[in-house]
């Protein structure tokens, strides 16, 4: 620390800080007070703190360089958030700000030792040193990771809130300096909708810190923007990318409760108006805290009323440097020397321990100073026009890359400092013309021309006679670039990758030109021949949270979900459905179904209403069995196979009326089957008169199962005769249940018990559910969950498609061969199933029931069945302990060689060890004759 002396200046015109609102915060464990409107760094500078970080490789002390978002030395940790741009982020009360990438402390860091051996740590050192021996890499990795920069996050903290927004707008203006503001206003005046995006917290660009005349122009421009409701303004937001068809990515920070928001914009025309970024100068000691760019000085003085030093040396090669001199003088800084780059003057080096203490001039003069300001040129951030197809060209007169003007689509325009130089009025005029053209083009009009904006001459100043840093983020020096060139990395793209220059958090905005200029010097090739690296998205860093946005994971619930939750239902996520797995004791629930009566919520079962005279043709096409003679009032079990004969779904379909059917599918297959039917109807059989309406959730579906289910039904059903004779197995009826009309009920039995599946209009689902429980109280009724149903169906030997079958299981291998009717005209999968029946059966796996010899054993699902020499002969697809029978019950896919009833097979358990199990005669363990089912 340099003591507590306040560096806060008296009020400055255009200052952003509010002196009536002090904000207390912590830095590196100590308490400080800043002002509302301060950035973290301006607040600290005002308190006399001027070192904010240690550099990436040599751990050198770093302070302010640009006092903007890209400032490489001002990255800090704020509370749990790492990598905060301290020269951009607004101070907030209570912030706990810490330096990152320091150990043990900012003042003393052990990695400083790297600096002492720096000449051995040239570019490529890591690549060359740690590649061999390869077996040591894990050890290297452990050590090197301690040297990586990047702060820390706590895994305990909750995920931050991020979201997204979609915008469709005529014109997007990226950058709200004078040209961008004028472009937005002009575009709006053509009738276009405009989105104006500005990286800073307020509009204006450099007009904000360029004197009273600029402020007056700015307030006029701001008023023009405010007066046009068709301009939406986003501040603290940045256009991070431009993609095909003008989809423009905008990152908005701290908006609507979100930390970051990705705004996905479809823009008619994009106007790039990013202004210019001031370029650092390369010389020994150019990274010392106290060495700053002229724009940094002007921001600190004019926006935050902070005195950047006491005794200054200024190297200026342009008007902005001159203006910085004026600003410094005005606020009482002792400007001890001004060196004019335009007249060939320069400096040799800066010196100091940990911070700037003196500047040495070319003639050897040493000037003690705590502030060295450089104004040696500009970088045009050509990122967005690069992404749109332009390849920037070197303008040697202006000593910067400028848009080539070729390659841009008509939907992308550039204006302002990116294009050229001029007075504020000239920049505004250019912006206005570009905005008018953008608005016209976006609305389908040809539009007029845009005046030229020429670049002013600027001396080409890149490096002094000494070597210094070209990349402050990555600690790449001009020496590294020269060394890389000597090693043969002699193009800008190669040098970038070998030295990592321009690859750090500043992403080339400060470094690119100096890197190429030093490379030019080292290779003797002109900068225009070397060209610049390609700027790719994102222009500014974007968090993974913003890319993800809200996590949309739709969930589905039945009308009875509230009841399940209130009665101890343990949730099971099945696809998108949340279902009750059990209510505490699945085995007891299963036993109750066998003994009394149970009800289960089967709403997720897929349901499709089929109507039209050609429904039987459709059913015959998609099911392997026959459907032509299904009578009104009957249901039939059907199996669907894909064209390759593989089982894709099963379920029952009932004929409700002459031309009206209700098809049920598996819960997970509902969407697939709907698509499957529509696909056949819309492509192969568009002449068939069939309409398919998905009604899965139009009905709440409840399965009533158990020997007492008929008795229960009699208490709640009106208008339907329930006797076996009147309403037999595999029949369907429509009627009233518990006072609710339009219910469908069919007699089927997945559980193997006498059971009725009722489909009631979903809004009445809870009413009917509760009515059943009330009506069946004396019958011992009890709700059962998915687990009990799985036990019951397994006891009955009923398969589940995709559990007991897989992506290769043809109908015959699922024990469904008898249903395949090859004498039908045609159906999906027929050719393959015909082939399979003729040639494939001898080798195809078969579905069998297995009973472990040890009654207490239940092999986990997916356990392998093996031969005596260890070959795999199959696998267990389903397994449970049967509460009804008191022993394990399994279904398995096995090789035909071991499929015969009575065969004893060996099952290898996943955790090791083998058990033996006997192949059963029938798939059903309980009631193989189906007596209970048909009761």
């Amino acid at each position: 620390m340099t003591g507590a002396a306040s560096r806060r200046l008296p009020a400055q015109a255009g200052e952003l800080v509010d002196r009536s609102r002090p904000l207390a915060f912590r830095w590196d464990g100590r308490s400080y007070v800043g002002l509302e409107g301060d950035t973290i760094v301006s607040a600290l500078l005002a308190c006399g703190v001027d070192v904010f970080s240690r550099s990436f490789k040599y751990s050198r002390s770093r302070g302010v360089l640009s006092a903007s978002f890209v400032d490489p030395g001002c990255t800090v940790q704020v509370d749990d958030e790492p990598n905060v741009r301290g020269a951009h982020r607004r101070l907030a009360a209570g912030m706990d700000v810490r330096p990152q990438n320091v150990w043990p402390s900012l003042r003393f860091d052990v990695k400083t030792a790297n600096g002492l051996v720096g000449r051995f740590l040239t570019a490529g050192f890591y690549y060359k040193t740690f590649i061999k021996p390869q077996r040591l890499w894990p050890a290297y990795q452990q050590v090197l990771s301690r040297f990586a920069s990047g702060g820390v996050t706590s895994r305990q903290n909750a995920h931050g809130y991020y979201d997204k927004r979609y915008v469709h707008v005529d014109v997007v203006v990226a950058g709200a300096g004078p040209a961008g503001l004028a472009a937005a206003v002009a575009a709006a005046d053509t009738g276009a909708g405009v989105l104006l995006v500005e990286e800073e917290y307020e509009l204006g660009g450099h007009l904000r810190f360029s004197g009273e005349e600029s402020l007056s122009t700015l307030s006029e421009l701001r008023a023009q923007v405010a007066a046009r409701p068709s301009i939406e303004v986003m501040t603290d937001a940045v256009v991070t990318g431009r993609y095909d068809d003008n989809w423009v990515a905008v990152l908005q920070r701290n908006v609507g409760g979100a930390i970051e928001r990705l705004v996905k914009v479809r823009a008619g025309v994009l106007v790039a108006a990013p202004g210019l970024i001031e370029r650092p100068y390369v010389f020994a000691g150019n990274d010392l805290p106290g060495v700053m760019l002229s724009t940094a000085v002007r921001r600190l003085v004019n926006l935050y009323a902070v005195k950047p030093g006491e005794r200054a040396v200024v190297l200026t090669a342009n008007a902005d440097g001159d203006a910085a001199v004026a600003d410094l003088t005005r606020v009482g800084v002792n400007v001890v020397r001004v060196l004019d780059g335009r007249a060939g003057e320069t400096i040799r080096r800066a010196t100091g321990r940990g911070r700037l203490q003196a500047v040495e001039l070319e003639d050897g003069t040493v000037l003690p100073t705590d502030l060295l300001v450089t104004a040696t040129g500009w970088t045009a951030p050509t990122s967005l026009i690069n992404m749109a197809g332009d390849r920037p060209v070197w303008n040697p007169t202006a000593a910067r890359f400028v848009p080539s003007g070729d390659g841009l689509p008509p939907t992308v325009l550039a204006t302002g400092g990116l294009v050229g130089d001029g007075s504020t009025d000239e920049l505004i005029a250019h912006g206005r013309a570009a905005g008018t053209l953008a608005g016209d083009r976006a609305q389908g009009r040809a539009g007029g021309g845009v005046p030229d904006l020429a670049c002013e001459p600027h001396p080409g100043m890149f490096r002094a006679s000494t070597h210094g840093f070209v990349d402050f983020s990555e600690d790449v020096s001009s020496k590294d670039v020269v060394a890389a060139a000597k090693e043969g990395y002699d193009s800008s793209e190669l040098v970038k990758r070998f030295t990592t220059a321009t690859m750090g958090p500043s992403q080339g905005k400060l470094e690119t030109i100096n890197t190429i200029a030093v490379l030019s010097e080292a290779t003797g090739r002109a900068i225009e021949d070397l060209g610049t690296t390609v700027w790719r998205p994102p222009y500014a860093p974007i968090s993974l949270g913003a890319l993800a946005g809200r996590i949309f994971e739709p969930t589905r619930v039945s009308p009875m979900q509230g009841w399940h939750e209130g009665h101890g239902g343990v949730p099971l996520l099945a696809g998108q459905w949340i279902r009750p797995d059990h209510y505490g004791d699945a085995a007891q629930e299963a036993r109750n179904v066998r003994e009394n009566v149970g009800i289960i919520d089967v709403t997720p079962l897929g349901k499709l209403e089929l109507s039209g005279p050609d429904v039987p043709r459709l059913l015959n096409l998609v099911y392997v069995n026959k459907w032509s003679k299904l009578a009104v009032g009957s249901v039939r079990y059907g199996v669907m196979c894909a064209e390759d004969g593989v089982v894709m779904d099963d379920g029952v379909t009932g004929r409700l009326d002459e031309d009206r059917y209700l098809m049920s599918t598996t819960s997970s297959g509902a969407a697939t089957v709907w698509e499957w039917l529509e696909n056949w109807l819309q492509t192969a059989h568009s002449d068939w008169r069939v309409h398919v309406t998905p009604v899965t959730t139009a009905y709440a579906s409840i399965n009533v199962a158990g020997p007492k289910s008929r008795e229960l039904m009699q208490r709640v059903v009106e208008g339907v005769e329930l006797s076996t004779e009147a309403f037999g197995y595999m029949q369907v009826r429509q009627g009233r249940i518990a006072g609710v009309d339009d219910c469908v009920m069919w007699r089927i039995g997945f559980t193997g018990e006498l059971s009725y599946e009722m489909h009631v209009p979903a809004s009445y689902g809870l009413h009917v559910w509760e009515a059943l429980l009330q009506a069946g109280e004396d019958l011992g009724i009890r709700a059962f969950g998915v687990e009990a149903q799985r036990i019951l169906r397994l006891e009955k030997g009923h398969l589940i498609v995709a559990q007991d079958t897989d992506g290769l299981t043809r109908a015959h291998s699922a024990g469904l061969g008898g249903m395949v009717k090859l004498d039908k005209d045609d159906f999906a999968g027929k050719p393959e199933l015909a082939w399979h029946e003729r040639y494939g059966l001898a080798t195809a796996p078969r579905l069998v029931a297995l009973q472990p010899v040890d009654a207490t054993a239940v092999p986990p699902e997916a356990s392998q069945i093996i031969s005596s020499n260890g070959d795999i002969l199959g696998r267990v697809t389903s397994s449970r302990m049967s509460p009804t029978l008191g022993h394990g019950v399994c279904l398995a896919q096995v090789d035909p060689a071991v499929a015969a009833a009575g065969t004893v097979v060996t099952i290898r358990l996943p955790g090791g060890g083998d058990i033996r199990a006997t192949v059963q005669e029938d798939l059903a363990f309980v009631d193989p004759e189906g007596v209970r089912l048909r009761a």
Partner: protein
């Protein structure tokens, strides 16, 4: 056993606040005067109609895919090619279905009452499109989605029919009807409340007249 059952219908959407049974539906009676409101409109009758996209029924409705209009107190929505959704007053599904069947005799038309199978909600307020644009990528500008426009798209990853229906929203503000499959209704409702939080959104119960308008 009760001699007569008293069935109560319940929406897929739970809106906080006091509840009462209106027209056989248990609903929240909560009303909101917030600038942005999301109301449950699920009790309204909903009828799905399928017919030839350019046939006699399309002519009789005067509504094609992507548009909607009110006709005799029923909002007729062209929700897909050859697919319409009709929204009417609570308990009128059978009546609507009967009317549709009477419109064109002889044509192949399917009419299915989906009142209970779908969730319906209404988002109303000057910031309605801003909130919706956080969960739906479709251009909601007047040029592309004017009053009466209807489209089916992903809203918070749920397949949703969206209908621009300022007229039905009352108060001359932008208003959207959102219609999705029932079991996702509560999820979609929550997502819209989340999206509208920055605009001060509040949920409210039904309270709709027979035209589907407030």
């Amino acid at each position: 056993m009760p001699d007569t059952w008293a069935p109560v219908a319940r929406s897929a959407i739970t809106v906080p606040g006091p509840r009462s049974v209106v027209d056989g539906w248990e609903v929240s009676t909560r009303r909101s005067s917030a600038a942005l409101r999301l109301s449950d409109a699920s009790p309204l009758a909903k009828v799905s109609v399928r017919a030839d996209a350019d046939g006699a029924l399309a002519d009789a409705f005067g509504v094609r895919f992507r548009s909607s209009r009110r006709r005799d107190g029923v909002l007729v929505i062209g929700s897909g090619p050859g697919e319409w959704l009709l929204v009417g007053g609570v308990g009128t599904a059978h009546q609507i279905a009967g009317q549709v069947c009477g419109l064109v005799a002889g044509d192949f038309v399917s009419v299915v009452d989906v009142t209970h199978g779908r969730a319906l909600m209404r988002l109303t307020g000057s910031d309605a499109s801003r909130a919706l644009s956080k969960v739906c990528a479709v251009d909601l500008s007047d040029a592309v989605t004017p009053e009466g426009a209807a489209f089916r798209s992903s809203v918070a990853k749920v397949t949703t029919d969206v209908i621009r229906d300022d007229a039905g929203g009352g108060a001359g503000e932008p208003s959207y009807l959102l219609h999705c499959e029932r079991s996702s209704g509560q999820y979609l409702f929550k997502c819209l409340l989340d999206a509208g939080k920055e605009f001060g959104i509040e949920p409210e119960g039904p309270g709709l007249d027979s035209t589907g308008a407030r």
